[in-house]
């Protein structure tokens, strides 16, 4: 088991009048190679949860295990941060070096890699996000477009060769081309390189399309933890806690309410099309 949380409780500013419960008895395990979508309304504890995964926050009660070893004791913080790569919201705001190369190498230098190994890793990381090494390595990160900056920032985390990549809304604020680029690279990294990915997103279509498992958080608790098909069939529950459902699911729900016999939880254009066509054929034959 790559990541395991056991009854994790967390409160911000505990023991003060401003105390704010953020996680309540959260238990979950994530195995290598999974693509997990983490959804929930604002303030539901998603960001708090992912900050527990690489030891930025320590649980008040309960424990977090990485590859069976407890964070804060059995495994050093630096090693945890190498294994679990965390990409924050708007990661381009963390860029600071003069060149793209130096910025991506920052994490590697902190981990103590020798210079000759760093070059190869930076090159690989840039390739992973689809940027050409020779075109970009000597450019200043501040001359790049928004989408490119974000991909460089993600490469800075990927260069550390994590077993699991955690991304907090990696596509928010990007144009559709930038969004598509990032999504397709995440998909490929998970499928071809076997990278475990945890994706926080507000875009249900994105989650339905990418994730093999969806975790829904609400008020610090895990509400659902299941396959996208099962989770997005819970239309009324999701709407009640302020979440949306994917557009395809929404369309299928409407057709079903209109009396057409279609399955509800389909997320691929072709599947949906075929289901509607065959439902119509059944009806009019």
């Amino acid at each position: 088991m790559l990541i395991k949380l056991k009854n994790v409780n967390f409160t911000y500013m505990s023991n003060t009048p401003l105390a704010q419960r953020a996680l309540e008895n959260v238990s979950l395990s994530i195995s290598a190679g999974e693509f997990v979508g983490l959804i929930g309304p604002t303030g539901s504890g998603k960001s708090t949860l992912v900050q527990h995964l690489n030891g930025l926050l320590e649980p008040l009660e309960g424990e977090v295990l990485i590859e069976g070893k407890k964070i804060g004791g059995e495994i050093s913080p630096l090693l945890v941060r190498q294994k679990i790569g965390l990409v924050f919201q708007f990661p381009e705001s963390q860029l600071f070096e003069e060149t793209v190369f130096k910025d991506i190498a920052f994490g590697l230098r902190n981990l103590g890699y020798p210079d000759d190994e760093i070059e190869g890793r930076v090159r690989k990381a840039l390739a992973m996000v689809g940027l050409d090494y020779f075109e970009f390595k000597d450019r200043s990160p501040f001359t790049l477009s928004g989408g490119e900056m974000r991909r460089v920032a993600i490469a800075g985390v990927l260069a550390m060769n994590p077993s699991c990549l955690v991304l907090d809304e990696p596509t928010s604020g990007l144009d559709s081309i930038g969004t598509r680029e990032i999504i397709s690279h995440l998909e490929r990294l998970n499928r071809e390189e076997g990278l475990t990915i945890i994706l926080i997103s507000h875009d249900m279509d994105e989650v339905a399309h990418l994730a093999s498992r969806v975790i829904v958080m609400n008020e610090g608790k895990i509400e659902f933890d299941d396959s996208p098909r099962r989770v997005f069939s819970q239309k009324s529950d999701l709407l009640k806690i302020g979440l949306d459902i994917p557009q395809f699911t929404s369309l299928l729900f409407m057709l079903k309410e209109g009396g057409l016999d279609v399955p509800l939880a389909l997320f691929e254009l072709n599947e949906v099309k075929n289901a509607i066509v065959s439902a119509l054929e059944r009806r009019f034959s």
């Binding site: 600071f96 902190n110 550390m160």
Partner: protein
Amino acid sequence: MKTFSRLTIGQYYPGESFIHRADPRLKIVLLLSILVTLFILSNFLGFFYLFLFFLVAIVVAKIPFSWILRGLRPLIYIILFTLIIHFFFTAGEPIARFGPFVVTEEGFKNGLLLSVRFILLVVGASLLTFTTSPIELTDGIEYLLTPLKRIKVPAHELAMMMTIALRFIPTLLLETDRIMKAQISRGADFESRNLLRRAKNLISLLVPLFIGVFRRADELALAMESRCYRGGEGRTRLRVLTMRGKDWMAGMATILFLLSAIYIGRL
């Protein structure tokens, strides 16, 4: 993770007390008179009088003593330093001896007086910031500086700069926390014992922070201009400052008290 929540100096403690509602201009003027008084006083009796005055003010304003003490905590080292310098390096009648170091009576007395003066100074200043919201404070300062406009002091602009600076402190703290966490996730160590490494890592925090500040300043300027902001000339106020009868009375009483403290404290 270290947080910045422990620093209380310069923070507002919301309340509804008489002191909270008093005119900010009055509070600023009185604080200035208190500071002047503190420097005129030269014996412990006078300081004791002022101490009593602050005690009453703190109780009336319903500010927890723990807040006042927390505001003083960062000053411990400065006070210790002052004390030691005075104890050992003032010429006069020796009263104690630690190896080659001699403590003199004058040094002992001067050191204590200076430390007490310093502590009272900070308590007085924090009393003002605890009971006055930053907006009121800058309004008051702007008003008090208005006569200086004749000699080209940009009173309104200064006040606006202060308001904006105060407004962005919490935003910057949040941003700092966020960038710090992002860099820690990339293996940065902001608490390293190796000073060189710590300084290097600090760059990874400061550069993004500065870029963010400049970007924000640009956006704010644009937002202000698109709402037709053009400086203080002819600008009306949302909150008009008024001195109430009670304020005048409290002001007079305080001035009288300070004068009597000076009378006693100079003997």
